[in-house]
Amino acid sequence: MRRLNLNKLRQKKGSALISVLVVLFILLTAFFAVFSFALSRAAILEKEINSTRASYLADAGINRFLYEIEKDSLTIDKIISKKLSEKISADEKYAVSAEPWGGYILISSEGMARGSEAAKKVLIGLMPNKDLNAAIINCGANYPVVIAGRTKITGDVIVGPGSITRGTIEGEAYQDEELTDGAIIQRADVTKPEIDNKPIKEYLSSTIEKVAFPDDFIIGSSVITDLDIPRKDTSYIIRVEDNLELKSLNLEAGNVKISLMAGRNITIGDSCHISGTIEIIARNSIIIDGGSYMSGVILAAEDSIVIKGGSIFSGQALCNKTIIISKNAKALYPSLLYAYDFDDDEERTIRFGPDIYSEAIAVLNDVSQIGYSGESKIILDTNSIVCGYLYSDRYIDIRSVLLGIAHSESFWYKKEPTTYINWLRNVVINRNRLDFMPVLPVMFPNQNRYAIFTVYEVS
């Protein structure tokens, strides 16, 4: 019998096992690669689903908030102090809060679903009452409106008693006036809406004060071409002592509230692209030029706000004296141009044009007691197209096409040496061409239904 070489056999023992283990190791590696890939895909998908869930929950928060403030007929002060938090299920909840944001109220809702969060921010204002279906509302009690010349109005004309309208026209060329698709409605209760400017006054006082008496500021003037905002911050403020210039700046607020302030002037140019919950506040003036684009922002200045040079604006412009949209600029809906007056006797002007397109709501508030000698007015200059709602406590001077609603104490036509007031002459106003119902700022307290004015993109 041949003797077994035990040593050699021992050396070869378990060689199949090693081969199997090697194969298994390779297979396991491949398997875990596939497994981790599948897991990461599943995790990404799960995260996306939860993010969408959170987004629906944020939307639910906005709806619940609107429902509760209307159900309880809350005043602006109570809306602003209201906090809402709702747990829908073990892993679903939302929290909502409100704050003043220019002439509107900013509602911020945060939805949370299994670790994912999504925010939604909307601006709410007031739904106009049925009067705003008319083309013209003349609320001047002292002087009746006169419609004359080659005036063409499409829509209702609501005037106070004693107004001289079609049929009893004074002045020249009265035969050509035309009123289509509407009626002249004489009403005894056509009075000026009482504008409660307390909310905006408080908002502006606090913001202008931040510029006037800053805790900390950048000394001198500054030019900003780029801004890196930390996304974890909820607010970000830059204060400059004198002038601030924004050049070619690309800035999206996302979920952050950004305030850019200057002690004197702010100029925005060279194709800036600025959007989101951003306040731009200057003590004196703000000029937007050079094809810049602004969306959702607030501009606030005491002396003037000028939007020109092919720039596109969508947001709120709040100014104590003069707001001008000119030189191929566009003001797109949702926009509010608000010339405010709290206590002084200065004249206010909102000027559209020449050569502009606007869908903005314009509100000229003049509480001064200077009567009819003051010339605060909204002017629609030549070659302009203005769609929207225009309200003036004093005059509206229409020299171009208005596709919307003119609501004023007086309309304006002036012919030297004789001065006429409250005339509509050679104008075209077409209410039917306004295809959206403008959401009014919260200063119009006689409206009691809220509506969404702006929806912010929050990433």
């Binding site: 050699k8 096992l17 199997v20 283990l21 998908l45 869930r53 629906y56």
Partner: protein
């Protein structure tokens, strides 16, 4: 003679070795197969993606429409049957809308969305 010795040295595997190796391989393979089927069942991206899109579509349609009522339907997509359920929580002018999509066979919940709509 030397060549014959060398051949003798290259002996095959013992039965014991083959049996152990096979057993280890089988156990390893079985574990992998089990885990793989678990993954397919639990983390099937395809099924979840379809359910996700179905839920989103139903929610958007529900928000866009003015009719708020409970509804249930079965939809087959890529040979997978899904049960879609819309449940309305009536709070007067405020409606809570819950849309769920589950696997029709097992009833396993895949996606659930909740939103509210204020009806004026």
């Amino acid at each position: 003679m030397g060549a014959i010795n060398l051949l003798k040295d290259r002996r095959g595997l013992t039965i014991l070795e083959v049996l152990i190796a096979s057993a280890v391989f089988m156990i390893g393979f079985a574990i992998m197969f089990f885990l793989l089927s678990e993954i397919v069942g639990k983390y099937s991206a395809k099924e979840k993606i379809i359910a996700y899109h179905l839920a989103q579509e139903y929610m958007e349609n529900s928000l866009a429409s003015d009719e708020f009522s409970n509804a249930e339907s079965v939809e087959t997509n890529s040979n997978i049957s899904f049960k879609i359920k819309r449940e309305i929580i009536d709070m007067g002018q405020l409606k809570g809308i819950r849309v769920t999509v589950s696997r029709e066979k097992t009833g396993k919940l895949l996606v659930s969305f909740y939103d509210e709509k204020y009806i004026r």
